[in-house]
Structure formats: C-alpha cells, structure tokens
Amino acid sequence: MLLLAALPAAAQATITRGPRTADGKPNLNGIWQVLTEANWDLQGHAAAAGPMIPLGAIGAMPPGQGVVEGEEIPYKPEALATKKANFANRLKLDPEVKCYLPGVPRATYMPFPFQIVQTPQFILISYEYANAARTIYMQDPGPAPVDSWMGQSVGHWEGDTLVVDVTGFNDQSWFDRAGDYHTDALHVVERYTLHGADSLMYEATIEDKNVFTRPWKISMPIYRRQEKNVQLMEFKCVEFVEELMYGQYRKKPAN
C-alpha cells in the first residue's frame, strides 16, 4: 500500500490490472479458453446445419456474432473464390478434420483450453488440441530458419500488453471451418492484455499480401479456466483420424 501511495495515479491504475510476475510483468500464467464461435466462422453467422447428416444437431454450426473488426475480411476477388471453394470442400480440405496443427491465430480460439507457462526469456503456450505448442521468444532470434505450422513467435512488452510477432508460416493452416485461409506470406501480430485477474483481451492483426488487400484484425476475450485442479488433458486426435485417412489401405475394410 505504501508503494502504491508513492506512485502516480496512472501507474497505480496499471498495477491494479491483474496479477504480476516476479519481474513485474503482467502474469499470464494459467489455463485459458475462449467462449466464442470463431472457430466455426470468424465472421458473423447464423446457425446452420452441419456437413454430416448423421450427426444431426451435434454437427450443426452454432451462431456467432463474429470477431472481425469491421465485419469484412478484405479478400482479393480470386482469393475470395478460393475461400468459398474451401468451404464447399471443407470435409476434405479443412486441416482440423485431419488433426493437423492449427496454426496461429486459430490455435487460440479452438474450442479447447491452452496453458501459458511464462518465464522472462520464453513464454510457452501449450494447446490441448493436437498437443500443439509454440514458444514465444522474448529475444528476437532473427528470421525464422524454416516455415512451420505454428510459425516463429517473437514477443515484447508494450506497457502491459504482450505483443507477439509471428512469421515463418507454411501455407497449410486455415483460420476457421469456413475456409478462411492464407499463404506462406502470412504475418500475424497478436496482443495479449490482462483484463483483471481472470480474463485476457486478445487481438490479432492478420496480413497476407497474396490473399488480402489490407491487414485486418480480430479480437475476443479469453477466460481463465477456474475449475479446481483444472489441467490440460490429452487430445491426441491422430488416432481418431486414421480410419478417415488410411482406412482405404486396410487389409480388411472396417465396415
């Protein structure tokens, strides 16, 4: 209290915005999850039937108000055609169907929790979905040596916001089940800001000159999972897609 009293009002307002680590940074450690339908479609959408008739209501798409700033994703005309074709063929093409790594930012708003393990030099984010993981380097190691699904993440603090610059992506991941996609020119800048002790505000600015006419932004809150003894569990989905991907090569077909 004495310390707070000695600080100017603006600094006090910052300090009361949630827990801190030993080195004075906002403490992002914890298990987090979104409460949004962004993984079905980043843009606002009404509920709709799913692509698999036997799944009935289980497979239907829940409605969502959208997370894209300004609502529109600024596709180039030919890229918009690709997105539409992606959606039409989503059972074959969506990397999530095959349990592939989700990429960034999709990993954030998959309907699974993720855990942040924060240290001064590195911030590990471990995602329950497909045991995806990424390490945010707080010291820039230079350009990404190879392209990858989750990209190379380099972070720094802007005041109380963790800003993560993500490059070095391959062209394989999607942004959602609606066919929104990118190429290997993707560049994502994420912003994580604690909002009280148990929520984060998340923003991601998405840039890909091959697909979009300008950078665009999504934003959503992320909530702390607060169940007693909550932990990430395994969602190693490779096993669940073997019949889909390799069933045709069985000696005796499963059905």
Binding site: L124, A133, T135, S148
Partner: protein, 325 residues
C-alpha cells in the same frame, strides 16, 4: 532429500558389490562435488533450458558385456569409434533393397558421439546386470504380442509402430530416452509448474507441483498423468494413468513411473527414472541418463502432417498382396 540420497547410496553399494565379483571392471568416476543450482524467482531449483540426452550408451547392457558394468577409458574410446562407424548411414547398402532401407543419410541422425561419462555399459543402473528384469508373465505377454505382430505386420494402422503413426515417439516418454535424432527437450518453470517441451513429436508435459491428486483411474492418457514435487534440488515426478496402448517396454497400463531430475552441474541435468509394473517386471528397474545443456532452439516436428509412412507401408502391402494373387 535425505531419503533420496540414502537410496542412491544403497544402489551404488549394490552395484559396487556386484561389480567386485567380475574381473576387469573399472570404478565409476567419483560423483561431482555438490552443485547448487541457481533458483527461479519463485524459489525452485532452476533446471530451465534446452537439454539433449543423446548418447551411444544403450539402455540395456549388451550381451557381449554381460559381466562388465563399466568400460575403461580406452575401451570407451574404442566402443565410441566402432559405434560411430557402425551407425554411419552414409555407408550405402550392398544391394538395392538394403540401399533403399538406408534412405536417410547420416545428416539426419544425432545419436551422440560419446558414451555416458560414468562409462557404465548401460543406462540401466539397477538391477546390477543392466538388463530389464522381465517377469515370466511379462515375457509371455511380449512373446504373444510379437507373434501377433509377425502374423499381422500391416493389416491396418494399429499394427504399425506408434512412431510410424505419429501418435507417440518411442523415446519421447515418459520416460524420456535418447533417440536416433532430435533428442531435445526444453524445460520451462513458472510458479507451481514445470513444463517440458519435447521436440519429438511436439509433446508438452506440464507437471503441476501442488500435490493435487492424479486424474481418476478411469481416465487414461498416452503420456500418463504426471505430478511433481521438489526433494531438495531434485524434481521428483510421479506418473500413472497410462493407456494399455502405450506399453513402454512391454509394460501395462498400470505402470508407475518415478522420474528424478537433478542439475548436477551447470551443463548437466541428471535424469533418473524408475519403472514399476509387477505384471511385466520382476522388480522395479532404474536408469540414469545425463542430459547436456544445448544451445537450442527446438523446432516444430510436425510428424502426422507429413506422414507418408502409413499410407506407403499399408498401401505397399496391399499392392504386394494383389501382385501375389
């Protein structure tokens, strides 16, 4: 801490007693003086960093060294030279089939170039013969599994190795063993947690340190369910809740694993693990593996996303069957 040191002392005594009975064994080098690791901000012994556990020392003592617990320095040098030559995948095959089977050249591999500094002939330190102490029941079950595998090598994906299926790398653990390449691990510590990012195949183990109970016994996971605590400067991690499909070295889902991580000098993380599974092993067994500090970084090993092995192996088998008809 005291109990841990006592136990280690007992193990060392047992091995010493066994070693005296054979000729030509060399004494292990003395343990390094007590090293005090730095502390994290929340007071944990700091074991963070990228670590590599590649070594030429095998898990089990080779039959040819049955009575030899330790190599002499000269024997170790000869062994290393021979192993490096034998492992060299730039030696091409003598016929088309063996040449193709060696399609990965040496650049892919990193099996290390040294045996463990103790010069022990196996990573297993207990029992004293350096071998996994299978029980009769365990041997029978493994023989039956091997017989089934011989009769059904490629019926479907379930018949292939977990690593070929990109479900679980055989050395990723737990317990973590040296593999033929990418034996890299990055450890992170935050208040209440130790996290281990395993390069193969992008596994992450997040180990809570708050003595919470394990998951219910009905919940089984490929990597089990780990709980950790500190005993002095040693991180002790206990893992249960394995699946009946992970079968580490033939173990059942009831395997219990205890791992001990101790930073024994600035550049060495000494990793010991003890495996217990009465249905498979006649007694618990323990291995010790030094992990060396590495500059890193670790990379994304997206195994499943590039898996041509499963369709290749199964598809090839179907083609062969069709051709034989």
């Amino acid at each position: 801490m005291g109990g841990y040191l006592e136990k280690r002392f007992c193990i060392a005594m047992l091995i010493g007693a066994a070693g005296l009975a054979v000729t030509g064994w060399a004494a292990p080098p003395p343990k390094p003086a007590n090293y005090t690791p730095p502390r994290t901000a929340d007071g944990q012994p700091d074991i963070q960093g990228v670590w590599n556990n590649a070594t030429l020392t095998p898990l089990e003592r080779p039959a040819a060294m049955a009575s030899k617990a330790f190599l002499t320095p000269a024997e170790a040098a000869a062994y290393e030279k021979q192993a490096l030559e034998q492992n060299n995948r730039d030696r091409r095959g003598t016929d088309a089939t063996s040449d193709l089977a060696g399609a990965y050249n040496q650049a892919w591999f990193d099996r290390g170039s040294k045996v463990v500094p103790s010069l022990r002939t196996s990573l297993i330190i207990d029992p004293a013969d350096g071998r996994i102490p299978y029980s009769e029941e365990g041997q029978k079950r493994m023989a039956a599994a091997a017989e089934y595998a011989r009769a059904h090598p490629t019926d479907g994906p379930e018949d292939l190795a977990l690593a070929d299926r990109c479900i679980l790398w055989a050395t990723a653990g737990p317990p973590m063993l040296p593999g033929p390449y990418n034996s890299n691990y990055q450890i992170f510590q935050a208040p209440g947690y130790v996290a281990i990012a395993i390069e193969m195949i992008h596994e992450v183990r997040i180990i809570p340190l708050d003595r919470r109970p394990h998951l219910p016994g009905s919940v089984r996971q490929w990597l089990g369910d780990s709980r950790g605590h500190w005993e002095g400067n040693t991180l002790v991690v206990e893992t249960s809740n394995f699946t009946d499909k992970s079968h580490f070295r033939g173990a059942t889902a009831n395997m219990r694993l205890t791992e001990r991580f101790t930073r024994t000098d600035a550049n060495t993380l000494t990793y010991e693990f003890t495996v217990e599974d009465p249905a498979t092993f006649a007694k618990p067994w323990t291995a010790s593996i030094p992990m060396a500090k590495s500059a890193g970084p670790i990379y994304e090993y997206a195994c499943h996303e590039g898996n041509y092995a499963v369709p290749g192996i199964l598809g090839g088998a179907r083609k062969q069957e069709a051709a034989a008809k």
